[in-house]
């Protein structure tokens, strides 16, 4: 179990347009008791969108795990499995 997680949300244009825009609302969707242990930041293009084999935008990096086609739901689930 991790003590805290860092969530990096890609704000490159491809990620942002394909759904990343809403991921920036993550803070509001997190369960109260976990909020203090999660650090959220926007990051410039991580380059995965042009690779193809890493999946589709939007991309989010949680600690060292990459999530493709990220949704608020997917991110929250992943965080929970890491922290709980």
């Amino acid at each position: 179990m991790a003590q805290s997680v860092s969530v990096k949300i890609c704000t490159g244009t491809a990620c942002y347009v394909m759904g990343g825009a809403n991921l920036l609302m993550l803070e509001e969707c997190l369960p109260e008791h976990l909020k203090g242990r999660i650090e959220i930041e926007g990051t410039s293009c991580m380059g995965y969108c042009s690779l193809g084999e890493k999946g589709k935008a939007p991309f989010v990096m949680i600690n060292d795990q990459l999530i493709s086609e990220a949704t608020l739901e997917k991110i929250t689930e992943k965080i929970k499995t890491m922290l709980e």
Partner: protein, 474 residues
Amino acid sequence: MIFENNATIRRRDLITRLAKLYFDNQLVEKIDQIPLELFPKRGDASRCCIYRSRAVVRYRLMALLGYNIEDEQDELKPLAEYARQALERTSIEAPVLTVIDDACSSCVKVNYFVTNACQGCVARPCMVNCPKDAIQMVDGHAKIDHAKCVNCGRCQNVCPYHAIIYMPVPCEEACPVGAISKDEHGLEQIDYSKCIFCGKCSRECPFGAIMEKSQVIDVLRTFSQPGGSIAMIAPAIVGQFPADFTKQVSALKALGFTKVVEVATGADITAEHEAAEFMEKMHENEPFMTSSCCPAYTEAVEKHIPEIKKYVSTTKTPLGFTAEILREKYPDAARVFIGPCIAKRKEALDNPLVDFVLTFEELGSMFVAKGIDVGTCDSEESELPAGNIGRAFPVVGGVADAIVKGVEGKCECKPIVIDGLNKKSITLLKAYAKGKCPGNFIEVMSCEGGCVAGPGVISNPKIATKKVQEFTSQ
């Protein structure tokens, strides 16, 4: 509130694919492959089967190429043929929306539905209280006869088990003016004598069945026009990409626009003229005046609230002023409005000085197609930079603020803001026209929250609002 859903993302993906093919000069050759790429044999379907999914994608592409689905004559006509015609056309035609009948799920005709929570009780208040005798007991459960039900909702109100639910038809529910309804097959159709082009139906349909007739191809073609192509950007753009405004300007140029001009510059002029017009009207003892910059509102005035027309400002819209300046300055360039708005497509059809309209969503998808990352673009100033008054127009209250500031010390202004057109606020406007207006200036915004919450936006309106406010307080 979170707007994004699969229908939105799918549309953006299609715009991106379309624009990519255009940039690669392969639009006609490869467009017919897109439905197959998205739904390959033995793959997953988003609907009943891959064939239906492919058919819907084909219709979406037709709409994105700028065609009216209702006009389809030949179901076998390949997309390549439509693309070829789109690459040659010189003008675009009304209407601005189109319904993909194959995508419409023809939602419930009767809005009330008895769930399996029904206990088949002895009291049966649903049956007893139904004014149309539409409820029968079948296998120990209440059942609504669709031929008799008139959607009054009494059965739902009286059920002691809360077993009867209300199932809305999202597009019909969202339409503020009753312009969308079912045809004889249960499929939705738009009555253009009533439609105000607000785009709410299109945003609310969970099947993405209502689409704009896009002008993406026409705009892409202006990039190779000898006179150049000018992007007239709505002030709401500030909150649409996670990058400085100045980077957005150079991203637009990297895409192919030769000049980037803020419509907020026109909004500054609108504010000035509208303040003067307001003072004049107050001198003439008019009871109130309303704004006129929101095209869905002015369309609603024409079609549904004619009694308020004499109180609507006659000042030109920010887009109207901007296009006029540019016609003088750069007569040979194409003028493309880029904004959050569907109703602006109608305004542009009525204004010969505006050639084409793009939404932010279409712009963002075109950036993706060309591999432009706005965040890493250079910084560049826009041509004819605007002031903070005009730049504040896209957030609800911005227009009213501009008038209050414009008449300060000269005339008393008691502003009222209509934040979103819906059935209730339209009734309110009708009452104002009859002389029950508690203020003397009314700002009307069709979208709740202002243009930052328009149907063509990318960013969450909360984030966009904050960015516009930061930008205008600099």
